[in-house]
Amino acid sequence: MTIQTVRNLRRISQGLFLTLFIVLLLRTGFSGTLTSDSIKDFRLSWPVAVFFQIDPLVAIATLFSTWRLYEGLVWSIILVVATVFFGRFFCGWVCPMGTVNQLVSLKRSNRKSIFGLNLIDSNRWHWYQNLKFYVLLIFIGAALLGSLLTGILDPLSLLIRSVGLVVFPMIGYIIEAINGLLFGSGVSALTYVGVALNMFSQHVLLTVKPAHYHTIISLGLFFFLVLAANRWFTRFWCRGLCPLGALLGLLSRWSILGMQKDHDKCNQCNLCLKYCQGGDDPIGGAPWKKADCHLCLNCQAVCPESVIQFKLFPSDTASQVKPAPSISRRKVIAGLAAGAAAVPLLRSGDELKANFNSLLIRPPGAVEEQQFLARCIRCGECMKVCPNNALHPTFLEAGWEGIWSPVLIPRIGYCEHTCTLCGQVCPTGAIRRLTLEEKVGTKEKPAISIGTAFFDYGRCLPWAMATPCQVCEEWCPTSPKAIYLVEEEVTDPNGKSVRLKRPHVNPKLCIGCGACEKACPIIDRPAIYVTSVGESRSTYNQVLLERHRKAS
């Protein structure tokens, strides 16, 4: 097999994994099947979060933050062992974020960039490439004290939430805008195109209505900056910031597959540098930076002098290879300490205990907040899968530490009473897998509650405007209903006495799903709204003495 063939195999592998990634992300929506024994429960028919199960960064970081390893995360041992033997091939052959970065980096010009570097110079090893190791150390330091921040920069989390919550909805918006024109035109041939586009939304994007996500500007800007950076430094993200790349780079120091160079043959033509993805100095005269190489094999394929050869058990002299980044022990400790210090900084503020946001409604099955922050990797799977567009990335509602973690915004979408999809896709157990019975409750066990509804009497039609309305009661999914009606005599604007029913909330029965808030006809600021108090996951954030006992 020639090196060119191997390089093409690498391209095929990248294409296949990127396709698989996108297909899985597209299937992360309501396309489930009913369990065969009954029509009671929906199960997703695809293992949509499978990429996370081979992601050792998720496994190691959650292991440190919780001292547990959730379900499928043990599979990441495969990638750990493979990397220990064969190096950072994941970055060059598998990682969909890496592939996207590589595609955006294509066809860079050789002009000097604003950093004063042309393409060849920028592809040499630079100091910024060590940043990713500090990023990793800081995250590990924080994880050891129970705060999981890796998800903010984990490449798989980054890509899922950016494509799933930003790019797909942008496509949905474009389709809607085009359809507005097509259907508005009144030309029947054009409306057929519109119908086809709607079918695409419904069956490929899996949305009934276009999804609208909160705070996507922050997600989108971050993602598009990551993409744009590729135009100055090839795969800047992978080289400089990716904590998973850093972890795999460190694991690769013992790998038996590596580069061997015949320094004397090199005539410094720079072709290897022109095509280098990792910035690992493949050129003759410098040692190869093993922890930065993605094993894309471009350098060997383009070298006209046969200087470079990847082989098993290459020579490991100092002139040949630098097996690990030069980060002193002192700096390792400083990095870990910085991460550890971040935890009290983030948590001694008011958001967690003294003044938590009343609107921070977590998904059903979410674990208690501190545990939640030790598990959530901000991948956005739960938000993508939610059939009602109810779950959204936070910005600062959960404090800086909780950025981009899920929050339920009932005004946009309520929690569907019998839906358990968010727990099914959560790769780390931040949202527990619930059976339908656990969620809706049985005679013995109370239902899972995510909050409690409250009336804003000044805005409620029967309470303030002597007008009948009880849509909230109609929509309440519990039985008996958590909203009950009391017939009262009220005075209408003409001074006439009329009898009408006024709605009240029974906090014992309310599960905080927010269907009432969503259905309320006062659409700008509903007359009934949900706050987090009464959520099953907390023993403290409760209204009722009784409920507290039940929960604990």
Partner: protein, 319 residues
């Protein structure tokens, strides 16, 4: 020195540029657009066939399987051929409101829907569409209610609305409801068969056939509850279905219209059918142990001339 040729060329370019740039100014307007009162054409549905003999009949079928009950009740009214003709495009409109399973009695029984679809097809219908605008997520609701599977297996097309483009604004001609978005399949159909389920409803007290027609319109339905009785009657006057077949197999006595607990459900094993919307609702309400006179929209519908509540004047066919 500028030559004449240069002068013409340069001033010509400048003139052309200013014309191009200035075109936009022709759109100058001191009155920006403001949402106008929607005004659509009056749309009349012609599902209802005025047949005094048939109008007098109310069929009540009891104690059989859900599917057979439908068959028997329709047979008592003269068979499906009295309602569906060869080549008809039929819409069957069950109540598919809530994400519930059939045992919870929040949605029309799927076996009944399936049988009705088969009957329509056997009567020569060109196409049978089963549709409803659900309250909960439509994909979940159609699946868990069992109606999607049952209807498709029976040969119907299940239409789940996915966008506003599935509606057309028309004037319903009601005293309260005028211009509203109506589902296009309804507007395009030749026959409409209303297949409600009898349930308790916190606001209107009971929801049967006439209330079920909420599901043919879109828009801000949550405002209709402010004048629920008139809304229901307006819709019933607008839609006037070909036939009403009310599912009273399992009825929801409490916590409607969503229910949830099996404790709220009573098994009555019955179907009420007829073309008099008021009479069918009146008879079906009895299964809910309620007094029809207290269900605001039923007496209002009678007053509006839609039908009669006096069942003693009716020809009740028990089968």
């Amino acid at each position: 020195m500028t030559t004449r040729r240069e002068f013409i060329k340069k001033t010509g370019k400048a003139a052309a540029a200013s014309v191009v740039l200035g075109t936009g100014y022709l759109l100058a307007d001191s009155r920006p657009d403001y949402p106008k009162e929607k005004k659509a054409d009056r749309h009349e549905l012609k599902f209802f066939k005025d047949d005094p003999d048939l109008f007098r009949k109310v069929a009540v079928a009891r104690d059989d399987t859900p599917a057979n009950l439908v068959e028997k009740a329709v047979a008592a009214l003269g068979g499906i051929g009295a309602f569906v003709s060869k080549g008809d495009r039929v819409v069957v409109k069950p109540n598919v409101g809530w994400d519930r399973v059939p045992e919870q009695a929040a949605d029309t029984n799927p076996d009944m829907v399936a049988r009705m679809v088969r009957m329509c097809l056997s009567a020569g219908a060109k196409e049978v569409v089963v549709t409803d605008i659900t309250c909960n997520d439509p994909r979940r609701t159609f699946l868990r209610s069992g109606i999607q599977k049952a209807a498709e297996e029976a040969g119907a097309k299940v239409f789940i609305s996915s966008s506003d483009d599935d509606f057309k604004e028309v004037d319903l001609g009601g005293s309260l409801l005028t211009t509203w978005p109506v589902l296009k399949p309804i507007l395009d159909a030749d026959k409409l068969i209303n297949m409600p389920i009898a349930k308790h409803h916190g606001m209107s007290r009971a929801t049967i056939g006439m209330k079920n027609l909420y599901g043919i319109i879109g828009g801000r339905r949550n405002q209709l509850h402010q004048k629920i009785d008139q809304s229901i009657v307006d819709l019933a006057l607008f839609a006037k279905p070909t036939l009403v077949v009310a599912d009273c197999y399992r009825v929801l006595l409490r916590n409607g219209p969503v229910g949830g607990s099996l404790d709220d459900v009573k098994e009555c094993r019955a179907v009420v059918a007829g073309i008099d919307q008021v009479a069918v609702d009146t008879r079906a309400v009895e299964f809910l142990d309620m007094n029809p006179a207290e269900i605001g929209h039923i007496p209002l519908a009678e007053k509006s001339g839609l039908g009669t509540m006096s069942l003693d004047k009716k020809d009740i066919i028990n089968v």
